[in-house]
Symmetry: C2
Subunit: 236 residues, 2 copies
């Protein structure tokens, strides 16, 4: 998608861009360069579920409109509107909703909680990779305090070290099965080189990335921040 | 508990302190001033479940021993060992495991995911309150970059503003029922004044705090960092 296409889709409805007008379908509120949103697109692809997309131009403040805050009080993407109108936010919560009752989420208490443990790890430790990647790809790195960049780099390395150790003894992060915890971790971890982290030095992580890529219904799709001409600005 | 008692409990077993020796009971790996650990103690109290405690002296590096890293690869407390030996980490994941099948966690896909949405919000936005409180109570605030402290303060205020708006229209964060999402949020939010945030200005949050406190089995328990003579150090 070119910046021009991005703009035209965005402007097709004030602040939002509808790719489909089927009203009885789920709606994913999306921002294409967001890997948090990619997690959801990946699972939807695995499950073969139809959905429509509304693009939220977050750097122009479209996440802070009263309409969108009614969908997600924090103003962040992704968010999901069900066909019945109920709304859900936070990528890992959306994964849980969509994967419930499928092969991608265990249904027993311990299995469910173990998946959640690694999604919490993702939210805490892998966030460092996400921040660094965002700042690196949008020219914001030099505008950030050096101490903060250093903290994030140390945090990103720690995340990769822990994952490499864990993935040395099992194919997927919770054991033998590919779950939404893998999808959640995969989103930013497999792009760690874009945060200038030495991803290739972590051989078990790299082997796991290849295993994720070989899953049926894998979605090989990335949108660079360059598709959004506003992404060099700060989030409101 | 006095600093002396804390030390004596900690030293009763090398690195760990056993409060009970019943081997068929759950073990909570705990650090008393941690409000993440308090979340778990609060739910255990609501449920009336017996458990033993092992204290992890995190500022002395007890979270980084090979023994504890086998329990939680990230080295953080709380963590839980089940009676059958399986281990679980991350406070919100432990809450999910313990609350599964009880009144504190809905069993349908949407209800479960909504609880997880607010626990993700907690982990993301309320983290700012947790950091500020830790730095304020242990004398570390002046050692942190000013830009980072400012970011955390803005983040903490945003968290309180969002919660106040949400809690203006319903008694608990997910609706009519008190869930583990409330317990998770409560842990750091109700101590926001210790992070020098103006908690009393958020009237809906304050009314919600009173509702949480009135729940059957509420655990009114706090341990200041002062119980740990090592808490002014940096985490390894």
């Amino acid at each position: 998608m070119s910046p021009l296409e991005f703009e035209s889709k965005k402007q097709s409805v004030a602040g939002f861009a509808a790719w489909s007008n089927v009203p009885t379908m789920m709606t994913l509120y999306d921002y294409l360069p967001s890997q948090n949103a990619y997690k959801v697109r990946l699972l939807l692809n695995h499950l073969g579920l139809p959905y429509r997309t509304e693009l939220i131009s977050i750097f122009e403040g479209a996440g802070q409109t009263p309409e969108f805050l009614a969908v997600n009080p924090s103003g962040a993407v992704p968010a999901l509107r069900l066909a019945d109108g109920r709304v859900l936010a936070e990528s890992n919560a959306i994964l849980t909703y969509l994967a419930y009752g499928t092969r991608y989420l265990p249904s027993d208490a311990f299995g469910l909680a173990k998946v959640q443990q690694w999604m919490s790890f993702e939210q805490d430790y892998v966030l460092a990779i996400a921040s660094l990647r965002h700042w690196t790809m949008t020219g914001k790195l030099a505008r950030r305090p050096a101490a903060l960049v250093q903290m994030r780099r140390a945090g990103g390395m720690k995340a990769l070290e822990i994952l490499d150790r864990e993935l040395s003894s099992r194919p997927f992060i919770c054991g033998q099965d590919y779950t939404i915890a893998d999808m959640s971790l995969f989103a930013y971890v497999h792009r760690a080189d874009e945060a200038d982290l030495p991803l290739q030095e972590f051989s078990h992580v790299c082997a796991w990335i290849a295993r994720v890529r070989s899953q049926p219904g894998f979605l090989d799709q990335q949108f660079p921040y360059a598709v959004d001409p506003h992404s060099s600005g700060e989030l409101p």
